[in-house]
């Protein structure tokens, strides 16, 4: 959400928060609190925590914009307030708030980071208080693992659940990608959810497991493609994780090596199509070529999937001469119905795509002319 209509002093703090946060914080909504002013001086932040979001309302006052903001936490976290105030004074955000410097744009971010750290400790304490032998055991064995987050969710109608977000792999994926464009550290997490409060069951049921990755990682690697190892009866996380991490490590190495294959493919395409107008230089997922059939010139966008060459690329043709009434160039639908075999040489693949485009060009020209007449 764009930061609009926010008083400049507050906007400086909010913009710094949005652009410098180590994890992506979003603004859910903004609204004015003053009767006289239309400035937006209150907003809701969506802060990622334990593979979910926490919603905190930040209440500034446009009448005194130099004053520190006030924070209202979620309705279900009413015990978090006393936790914040009873914490170690060196970690307490109250010092930051009572010595507020509105000219320092990093203050809001450091306040939120401080509070989030406390929130993590608060949830840790709550989970630690859960009367469940398995959860107690898991906490004691997972303590050494860095960056683990946990939360206790309980609702009126829902049964209690303990959620763990376990960061996997110590190695940085960012470092594995040459010329990595990601600002935030890309991570893969295993979400483990233990249902609580079924004391009558003799053997505890397997937890619910799900792999989650940070958003930008999707251009390299999709966690949905990973088949999770089965959770055997009586297993614990410390037993389960090493095998999973080994599989992941291999899959990521493969995904990184596939970048090279795609790069090579784009280079091969340029031998038949000519020099590309545009190509994705880092993940090599996309390349655009200018093609002419007689006087009819058009662009060919080639999208290369992460599983290339097992999966074939998809194509979109875009005319550089025909525009619709809104001035947008006429485009073909996504095309993938052409002959393909993963076992072909890259040069064979490239020439087959070229043949298909030649074949399709007269058809596309007709589509373009039809669009013009309408």
């Amino acid at each position: 959400m764009a930061v609009d209509g926010v008083p400049p002093i507050i906007a400086a703090q909010l913009n710094h928060l949005l652009s410098h946060s180590p994890f992506s914080i979003k603004v859910d909504q903004m609204w004015p609190g003053s009767k006289k002013n239309a400035w937006n001086d209150r907003f809701t932040l969506l802060i990622p925590f334990c593979l979910d979001f926490i919603k905190w309302d930040i209440i500034y006052n446009v009448e005194s914009p130099l004053a520190p903001p006030d924070v209202i936490f979620g309705a279900e976290d009413d015990k978090f307030l006393p936790f914040v105030l009873s914490c170690d004074p060196s970690k307490s955000p109250m010092h930051n708030l009572s010595n507020w410097n509105s000219k320092d744009p990093s203050r809001l971010l450091s306040l939120i980071l401080q509070l989030r750290e406390l929130y993590s400790a608060y949830q840790w304490k709550r989970v630690g208080g859960v009367d469940d032998d398995r959860v107690k055991f898991e906490i004691s064995t997972m303590l050494s693992r860095e960056g683990i987050e946990m939360s206790l969710s309980s609702g009126v109608e829902k049964p209690e659940e303990v959620k763990f977000a376990v960061p996997l792999l110590d190695t940085s994926i960012n470092n594995m990608v040459p010329a990595c464009p990601w600002r935030q550290l890309q991570k893969i997490y295993l979400q483990v959810i233990y249902p609580i409060g079924r004391k009558y069951q003799s053997a505890p049921s397997a937890p619910r497991l799900k792999l989650v990755s940070t958003l930008e990682l999707k251009s390299l690697f999709s966690v949905e493609d990973i088949k999770l190892p089965t959770w055997l009866n009586g297993m614990c996380m410390a037993e389960y994780l090493p095998a999973l991490e080994e599989t992941l490590q291999m899959q990521i190495l493969e995904a990184v090596s596939l970048i090279g294959v795609r790069r090579h493919f784009i280079e091969t395409l340029s031998t038949v199509f000519g020099r590309p107008l545009e190509a994705d230089p880092i993940f090599c997922r996309e390349a655009t070529f200018l093609v002419a059939n007689g006087v009819f010139t058009f662009l060919v966008h080639i999208f290369i999937p992460i599983h290339f060459p097992k999966q074939k690329p998809t194509l979109i043709l875009q005319s550089s001469q025909h525009f619709n009434t809104q001035g947008v160039p006429v485009r073909s639908p996504v095309m993938s119905e052409y002959p393909w075999s993963p076992r072909w040489e890259l040069s064979e693949m490239a020439s087959r795509i070229f043949d298909f485009v030649v074949e399709e060009s007269s058809n596309f020209k007709k589509i373009c002319n039809d669009a013009l007449q309408r």
Binding site: W31, N61, E63, L66, V71, I72, A75, P82, M94
Partner: protein, 257 residues
Amino acid sequence: MDDLPLQKVTISGPTLSSLINRFASSPSNTQGLLFGKFSLHTSSLSDESPSPSLSPSSLIATITGFISSGNSSGNSSGDLASLLRRTHHRHVIGWFSGRRRSPLRPSLHEFAVSQSLSSESPRVFLLLTTPFNDTQSLIHTHEYRVYHFVRLENSFETTPLDVVNIGPAFRGQYGAFSPNSELPCLPCNFQDAVSYVSGVEELYEKMLAKLDCLATQVEGSSSKVLEMITDTLLRGIVSANIALHYWAVMETFYFKL
């Protein structure tokens, strides 16, 4: 008395409406102190209750007035503290905070203020908000909730708020609403009041002096008349003239007075 549970908070309709009015007329946020008293509520003993000694009584807080410290700003807890000092903590039972268009639950700031004030004495916290939506189109324009800060547990407890109104159902409670908090100090008008009082006192003193003077005059003339009467009686001559003269003198005196 601090450790007794707070059963409920009562407020009179006019006090609540003036509090809401104060909040509605402020441009943004507002806060201040609540005045009133705590009264002991003893639960009616019945034969059926097995152990009446467990919770024999609780407190009822009655809000009778408030003072607003204007806009709540950065050092607002300082504002409240100085307000508390100015009122000498007398009859302060808690504080209130009004913030427009925000959720109806205590914020970090409000919790911190309640915690730091709880070491003094006030424990009631009244929160006023307006709904998120455009207040022009709403019938329900203000929301409020009362909390009780429990020092031992370091937490807020929602407490019911009784709004006492006119009507037979509330007759028994009228007694509780005689305002018992003093006026907050008004330093700017104090000199005027002092000079007014001394002026009135001076006037009274002058009047008293005049009365004293008159009284001695009357005393003197009365004794003179008495002397004359006894003298005449002794001489055996009773003259109606003298009696007439006496009454004339007395009449003049009363007329003068």
